[in-house]
Symmetry: C2
């Protein structure tokens, strides 16, 4: 799969993919003419990257995860550990969100805004 098709399917620009390649987030073979050639699963991976990113993981973190996956291809245990780690992180974020939600929820209807940045005028 050439970069253009990958970009179209993953919903990002070619530039972004080349940028991700520099970061080691994706790796492609090269065809004899120098063109990048990506396996079809890269689409799923890029979609995963986008998701992880919107959830607050930096590209560096995501790349690290990817590398760790590549480095421990056989060890299901190691993978489980990695995922468990990420899941714990997600749970923590969800708890934070829940707390913020509860906070906002409590304020709804009370008429008590967060006007904390005004001097008491």
């Amino acid at each position: 799969m050439l970069i253009g098709e990958l970009a179209a399917q993953a919903g990002m620009t070619k530039d972004t993919i080349r940028f991700y390649e520099k970061l080691g987030l994706v790796t492609g073979r090269r065809l004899p003419n120098g063109y990048r050639d990506f396996p079809p699963e890269t689409v799923a991976w890029l979609l995963y990257v986008r998701t992880a990113q919107t959830l607050g993981f930096s590209l560096a973190e995501i790349a690290r995860l990817g590398e760790e996956l590549r480095d421990a291809p056989d060890s299901a245990a190691a993978l489980s550990e990695l995922f468990a780690e990420k899941i714990a992180l997600i749970d923590a974020r969800m708890a934070e969100l829940a707390a913020l939600r509860a906070d906002l929820d409590a304020r709804v209807g009370t008429g008590c805004p967060l006007r904390a940045d005004r001097p008491a005028d």
Copy 2:
């Protein structure tokens, strides 16, 4: 409260607070000598800013929320609407996280990594 104390209590540097002031995220009075003077509630506001930020809201979004709060100080209805909006956003993010979590969870133990960025070698 002077900027140094505020910074210490909010767990950020003075530079960051001055930067936030430029963005309109915090506003302080000035003392006759030119020093910034913040009301004590600013600490809570800054902690709130940090939380919202780690949850994926940009400083611009947070500032907008703050402004809207200031612009509609009396209308509990308007406030409720704003909060309801943020809550909806939070719910959406939580759903995304839950989905990612389920995704990772399903992979744990299956030994099926995300090795989508490798050419099939």
